[in-house]
Symmetry: C2
Subunit: 127 residues, 2 copies
DNA sequence: CTGAATGCAAAGCCTTTGCATACGG
DNA sequence: CCGTATGCAAAGGCTTTGCATTCAG
C-alpha cells in the first residue's frame, strides 16, 4: 500500500472527527488542501483503509456509509432525527458468542451494535 | 391505512420468509400473483408497514435494505460471504441502557445488533 | 364520492468502475 | 522503471417521487 499524499490527508481529516462523517464530508474537507482530489479516490481510500483495519466502516441504518477513525468494533448511538452518530464510551461487553448454540458451525468475526433514539438536542425539540 | 390487495399479498409473501428478503425478492414473488404490481408499490408498502410496526426494516451492512416479518427488534447474523441473514433465536438480552451515563439526556428507542462472520456453508468453503 | 393507494417512468443519491495518466518506492 | 493510485466521467444499484388514474371504504 503506497503512502500517497491523498491517503495521508484523508486519514488525517478523518482522525479529527468525533462525529462519524460520510465520504462526502471527508471529500469536501480534503478538497481544501488538495483541490483536485476526486471523490472516487476518497471512496477508494476509505474502503482500502477499512479493509486494512486502520479505520472502521459503519453501515447502519442510514443510507450513507460513515467512517470511524477508531478501528475497534464498538457500539454507537444514532439519532433518528438529526442523523448524528456518537460513540458509546466504555466498552460495552456483549455476551460471549462462542458457546451459544446458534453459532454452531459458524465463524463469528465481529458484531455491530447501535442504539437508536433521539439525542439531547432533538429530544428537547420533540416534546 | 387501506387494506389493498397489494398490501395483503406483500405481507403474505414476506411472512413466508425465514431469510430476510430485500424489496426485489418480494417484488418478484408478488408479481406471480399480481403481474402488474409496480416496484414502487412494493417499496411504499414495505416502508409503510415498517413504520406502523407490523414488520421490521433491517438496514445493516449490506447495500440493500432487508425486511423481517417479525416486528420486534432482535439480533441477527449476517454472512459476509453469501449475504445470508439469519435470526438469532432466544432473545439475547442487552445490558439495560437507561441508567448508563452515556444515555443521559437522550431518549433511547431501540437497538440494532448483528453478528457478522461466515455461515456453516461458507465457512467450509473458506477452510 | 373522495382521498388513499397504485402503476409507470423518471429522477435521486450514494457508490463503484473503466481507462488513460501520474507518481511512489 | 513498474505497478499502484489517481482524476475524470460515466455507469450502477437501490430507492424515492411526481403525476394521472384507480379503487377501497
Amino acid at each position: 500500500m503506497r503512502n500517497t499524499q491523498q491517503r495521508r490527508i484523508i486519514l488525517k481529516k478523518l482522525k479529527k472527527h468525533k462525529d462519524h462523517p460520510g465520504a462526502d464530508v471527508i471529500y469536501s474537507e480534503v478538497r481544501k488542501e488538495l483541490p483536485n482530489i476526486s471523490l472516487g479516490t476518497v471512496y477508494r481510500n476509505l474502503e482500502m483503509l477499512s479493509e486494512k483495519g486502520t479505520i472502521l466502516k459503519l453501515e447502519f441504518g442510514s443510507n450513507q456509509k460513515r467512517f470511524d477513525p477508531c478501528p475497534e468494533a464498538h457500539p454507537h448511538f444514532r439519532c433518528l432525527s438529526c442523523g448524528r452518530i456518537e460513540d458509546i464510551p466504555g466498552g460495552m461487553e456483549l455476551p460471549p458468542v462462542e458457546e451459544k448454540t446458534w453459532s454452531k458451525g459458524k465463524k463469528i468475526t465481529g458484531y455491530n451494535l447501535e442504539f437508536t433514539g433521539y439525542c439531547k438536542k432533538c429530544s428537547k425539540n420533540l416534546k
